[in-house]
């Protein structure tokens, strides 16, 4: 078991150092973008929009903005790193080694969580310049952070397994992830939507994550938080199961 722990640490450190080395490409853009969002949507437009869910608009969007960067960065880290390892064939270093599939997956997902947390913390620090946070439950917020990161890091891994070109790793973030995030209650409360679209929104997993995180920060949410955690855990279990199945079958990595 100690061997596997060493192998896990090796993958995790390798994955973490990968994004740390190129921080101007991995951490900085999220900080710059979020700052612009806060200035434009929070300050300039937000003051005209008024309150939402009994709080100022900038306060309302802050948790979603932070979580949005966590989602995109966790996903991007794993999808680009694992696809690169396939493209350059150094994934073979792992495949020939006595490393069980679950250790490989844990290492990559761990790397995704590390980037999600690093960028999330950086963006949270920026947010603190615009919003006076009164954190309702730090541990709950952190749990949502980690679970959300894990869900999207695993999803990124699955995307990378199927990807055959660099185009394939950008399709999902652009056409699936971004729309789901924007429609996941980051910028508005679902109470504003007509009843039908409220029901449709409930199929969006990001809605649960954003609301659970908002609950961790302010203690308020559009939806039942317990249910949100149940949904996140369900998604995580499902995606981990799919990723392990793909690794066991060697789909996309073995001929």
């Amino acid at each position: 078991m100690m061997r596997y722990w060493t192998a896990f640490q090796t993958i995790l450190i390798k994955e973490t150092m990968r994004f740390v080395r190129i921080w101007p490409q991995t951490v900085l853009p999220a900080v710059v973008t979020t700052t612009l969002y806060f200035i434009i949507f929070g300050k300039l437009m937000g003051e005209r929009i008024g309150d939402m869910a009994d709080m100022s608009y900038i306060e309302f969007i802050a948790p979603g903005m932070i979580l949005m960067t966590v989602i995109t960065n966790s996903y991007a880290n794993v999808v680009s790193s694992f696809y690169s390892s396939k493209f350059q064939r150094h994934v073979e270093e792992l495949l020939v080694s006595p490393v069980p599939n679950w250790v490989i997956l844990a290492g990559y997902v761990g790397g995704g969580i590390a980037r999600g947390l690093s960028v999330g913390i950086a963006v949270s620090i920026v947010s603190a310049f615009f919003v006076d946070f009164q954190v309702y439950s730090f541990s709950l917020g952190l749990l949502v952070f980690v679970m959300t990161s894990a869900v999207f890091a695993t999803a990124g891994f699955i995307n990378a397994v199927f990807a055959n070109s660099f185009d394939d790793i950008s399709i999902v973030p652009i056409f699936v992830l971004t729309p789901l995030t924007y429609l996941g209650g980051v910028f508005y409360s679902i109470d504003l939507l007509p009843a039908f679209w409220q029901q449709v929104s409930l199929f969006n997993p990001i809605l649960y994550m954003v609301n659970a995180f908002r609950y961790g920060i302010y203690g308020v949410s559009d939806i039942n938080v317990l249910w949100a955690f149940f949904i996140m855990a369900g998604f995580l279990a499902l995606l981990l199961g799919v990723a392990l199945y793909l690794l066991r079958q060697g789909i996309g990595i073995k001929s």
Partner: protein, 308 residues
């Protein structure tokens, strides 16, 4: 389980998704401590066989054991016993040399402290220590090959598999690699080699298997195989140009040019007799070499036989 063999393959088959049958019922054993050559033309199934042994390719059926570790029942045990040097460069080109070796050690569960000691030893042995902080993409082709050998050895495998290790390297590096691999084999590591340079196989390997169209068409000792050559063509370089072809009874002679003779000798014929007669005819031989590499000649014969 057969712990006597470094590698034991039985009834191994591989059919790719498109329907191409790369391996058709392969049976093969490699004894511990052996220096083994797996030869065959392009597309014969060598790389597929190596891919299956090293867990990079999934087999369709059959059984593979590495030092008694069954690939299906104990894949981790089998992988721990193998070091692989693949044909293509398969390391992260942007990582420094030492980091690549250290990471590989980590994947095998070797602690960072121990990995550093081993990485230094391997990199020094392969003349890469001075390049340890250099990004892998900045290495020359020969250095990249040596890096893959260092990486494959860092966990001290009992079986080292090299898929065309000297492809594209210069003579000097190739010779130093040969010496290194021979020393490694002397120390007890079983070595399996695929190569297109048949003189390389002849110089290094004691046992040989030839694969063609997914079948093993020959599996014998190198000495046993070479003894099957019934005749050899030799080229004799002469001191002085010859206007006429000297007649030597019992030997087929041919003029390649005025200073070079080609002679075909049968296995039972003595070279002394040839030189004696040439000497009497006033023909002075300065040097002699095989027209074709002996193994190459046999290899072509065996492939022709398997085709027909």
């Amino acid at each position: 389980m057969n712990p006597l063999f470094a590698l034991s393959i039985s009834d191994l088959k591989k059919t790719y998704r498109g329907g191409h049958e790369a391996l058709k019922d392969i049976n093969l054993t490699v004894s511990e401590g052996e220096f083994f050559a797996l030869l065959g033309p392009n597309g014969a199934g060598k790389s597929t066989a190596i891919g299956i042994i090293s867990s990079l390719v999934t087999k369709s059926s059959g059984c593979v054991e590495v030092f008694g570790h069954d690939l299906d029942r104990d894949p981790m045990g089998a992988r721990r016993s193998i070091g692989l040097v693949p044909q293509e460069f398969n390391f992260n080109q942007f990582e420094p040399v030492e980091e690549i070796v250290l990471n590989q050690a980590g994947f095998y569960g070797i602690s960072r402290r121990e990995a550093k000691v081993r990485a230094e030893a391997e990199l020094r042995q392969l003349d890469l220590w001075d390049k340890r902080r250099v990004s892998a993409r900045d290495l020359s082709g020969g250095m990249k090959r040596r890096l893959m050998i260092a990486r494959a050895l860092v966990h001290r495998p009992r079986l080292l598999i090299l898929d065309e290790p000297t492809a594209g390297v210069d003579v000097e590096i190739r010779n130093s690699m040969w010496t290194f691999l021979q020393e490694l084999n002397r120390q007890g590591t079983t070595v399996i080699l695929t190569t297109h340079y048949l003189e390389e196989a002849e110089a290094l390997c004691r046992q040989i298997a030839i694969i063609s169209h997914g079948h093993i068409v020959e599996n014998a000792t190198m000495a046993g195989l070479l003894s099957r050559l019934h005749e050899e063509a030799l080229l004799l370089n002469l001191r002085a140009p010859q206007e006429t072809l000297p007649e030597v009874e019992g030997f087929a002679l041919r003029c390649v040019d005025r200073c070079t003779l080609e002679v075909t000798i049968k296995r039972e014929q003595s070279l002394n007799r040839l030189f004696q007669v040439l000497d009497q005819a006033g023909v002075e031989v300065m040097s002699m070499r095989n027209k074709k590499n002996r193994l190459e000649q046999l290899f072509m014969n065996l492939l022709d036989a398997s085709e027909s």
